[in-house]
Amino acid sequence: MGKLSDLIENKEKRVLCLGNEAIARGAIEAGVQVFAAYPGTPSSEISAALIAAAPELDFYAEWSTNEKVAMEISYAASISGVRSMTALKHVGLNVAADAYYSFMYMGCKGGFVTVVGDDPHCFSSQNEQDSRWLGVSANFVILEPSNPQEAKDYVKLAFDISEKFEAPILLRSTTRISHARADVQYNEYESNFKEGDLEKTPRFKCLPAIARANHPKLLEKMEKIKEWIFDSGLSIVEDNDGEDYGIITSGISYSYVKDALKTLKRTIPILKLGMISPLDEKSILRFAKNKKNIIFIEEVDPYLEDRISALFIQNGLNPEIHGKCNGITKRYHELDSRLVAEGLIKVIGGELPSLSEIQKAVEETKEFIPFRPPLFCAGCQHRAAFYELSKVVRKQDGIFSSDIGCYSLDPWVTDTIVCMGASIGMANGFARVIKNKPIFALIGDSTFFHTGLPALVNAVYHKANFNLIILDNRMTAMTGFQPNPTEDIPIENVVKGLGVDYIVEFDPYNFEKGKKTIEDALKHEGPTVIIMRKICANEWWRRKRRKGEEIEVFHTNSEVCIACGTCIVQYQCPAISWSLDTNSKDKKYTVIDPAMCTGCSVCSQICPTGAISKVELND
């Protein structure tokens, strides 16, 4: 993260920052007064920045237990008259959507903005869900910036539009905007914080009769916004010269179009939409009128293409449509300027420098390039816990229903990973139909509080027979070590309160004891709860280093090591590698990198020859 001082300083200046930091700055410049969020890549840095800034600027910001709670907090603040915001990833929006659909009916008061980070290419996600469709299904009002500067400026604009129309606004970012680094112009700002109050009106009660009346009002509001966009400056027409072709695009895809046309040395009329729901029908129809070909450039789904094609039919326009329908760009993964240029060539002609020599070299060399998947960190407590679990119940002898978090990286047993909280929900289901194998649900502390709880209540209530392992590493590590309720609310108390009979805790760094804990739990009728409790090794190591404390590391005795590979090949600790001179059998042994070792000691416990021991400080 960039410097906090840059983020909050009330001054005109140009700052190098991440797209997400620019979005946070936009919220500060807009005078956001309440912010609540649950972390999720690629949105987390927005929240981290605002939560760091809040005490300095005297507004309220928190890490909430899940996206729905965060959104409800922000909405309550909004209908009490103050500016509020939440940020989440695309799948987090599913969790919050239950509330959001109705918020649209009810409308807001103080500006209410939700930033969603979509993740085309699944860099850090379980799917490529395209949030833009919520503009159709839920009448969301959606702004889509095309670069970090615009993202910052649009946040401010979103608050204004939200208040003008009393409409919640969704700002859609994607990974390549959120995690772009650019120089962004920051502006001065005025904070106008105020006490909130709730107006007593029936519109905030989504009862059937009121909802029935609210729905046509919402549609009316969308029509008003539609009229307003035309003069808002959000739709930009460039190089509108010629009737053969026109490109309609928005968001990050616009930037690819610009670079693609530059590479192709061509000028084609472009309509860039800043608001993608409701659509600026007037600008679109005016742009498309008399054009023979309309080319849609967008990532993942044909959202603009399908909606605008329908608009053309309704208005008697008949240009030839190019886009996903004729495959000029694909319906999955992200685009880049080359892919867009290749797509455009199919319609407008032209040539690109050949990549065939490079592609030939790639083909000839690819077998030599090692696969380097992300791994558990050195000393990771999850690695220890999963290794113990895999030694008690082998993969084929059990069912392992896991969840979203660092522990998704388990290389040994995991069978299913779906979405936040699904581990316990699905274990409930497996328990109904699989009777001859032990069933495990595996979930982290943050995910347990996020959406795991209701599924455990269900298991207790319906007596589902499975073993729940809660991997409590004291924080939300995967998304950047955010704090969560496990800091103050002991999980064992929660579980006990729900009526679970069998609850045990263990420290995974004690290999034999960890195994025995799991073995013992298997003798009991479920649901049983096994709590692994150990602070995230990465964070623990960082704190020790910051304090300048010595870390006790381990080393291998080369005379005793038989190079069996237990610590390297099986346990896969990244701090351990083979000795350099591995050509000679006599000299092959393992070496532990003292700069990476966290001293967890598990390798020394699983080494069959006892070759690994603690480095004595006076060595």
Partner: protein, 201 residues
């Protein structure tokens, strides 16, 4: 300078890829140039292969760089250089460290590891790039900071023909970016890198 200078920085998560990307960005900013880059965060970072794109120029649009279009590549790990060298345009420059970090797959399959290491020069040569190979580990140790392999390569970069920032500009940015107590070692690492090659033209 030309309108737009595109580069990629690659390596393994934790090698200081974002640090040198930051230093270059700070130096370019001070010179009044625009910056646009793209980074990888979250899950993919942990010990995985990492690529960062950086564009420096006057009018910049998309944050990523397609294959066959970068002017220079910095690789802090040699296998990662091989993985990503396809991003270079023909006859561009790859500055690569000799450092090799064994992935788990190689720890299991020794034969593949040896073969790949023996063939790495031959494989890199299949791409029509100018390869500058540097023992960045030794130079970083000489500078007194084993973690400064990335900075050694930054020093090399300062000597690449056509790179729009001078060594003085990079050094100023470096001083700003690295922790105060390590400034001296970092500057030394930079100088050692810079002196490791003659002006490449």
């Amino acid at each position: 300078m030309t309108e737009e200078y595109q580069m990629v920085i690659v390596g393994v998560g934790g090698q200081g890829i974002l640090t040198i990307s930051d230093v270059i960005a700070i130096a370019a900013r001070k010179k009044g140039l625009h910056i646009l880059g793209s980074e990888v965060h979250g899950m993919a970072q942990k010990g995985g292969s990492v690529i960062t794109n950086l564009k420096i120029g006057k009018e910049l649009h998309s944050p990523t760089i397609p294959e066959g279009s970068a002017k220079v590549l910095i690789g802090i790990e040699e296998n990662e250089t091989l993985r990503f060298i396809k991003y270079l345009e023909p006859n561009a420059t790859a500055i690569t460290s000799k450092t090799i970090l064994n992935p788990v797959s190689w720890k299991k399959n020794k034969k593949a590891a040896i073969e790949a290491q023996e063939k790495i020069d031959e494989n890199l040569a299949k791409f029509k790039a100018k390869i500058i190979k540097i023992d960045s580990e030794a130079l970083a140790l000489e500078a007194g900071l084993s973690l400064a392999q990335n900075i050694v390569l930054l020093g090399v970069l300062s000597q690449v023909e056509g790179f729009p920032l001078s060594d003085e500009e990079l050094k100023e940015a470096l001083k700003e970016r690295v922790p105060k107590k390590y400034v001296e070692q970092n500057l030394k690492a930079f100088e050692l890198g810079k002196n490791a090659i003659e002006k490449t033209n």
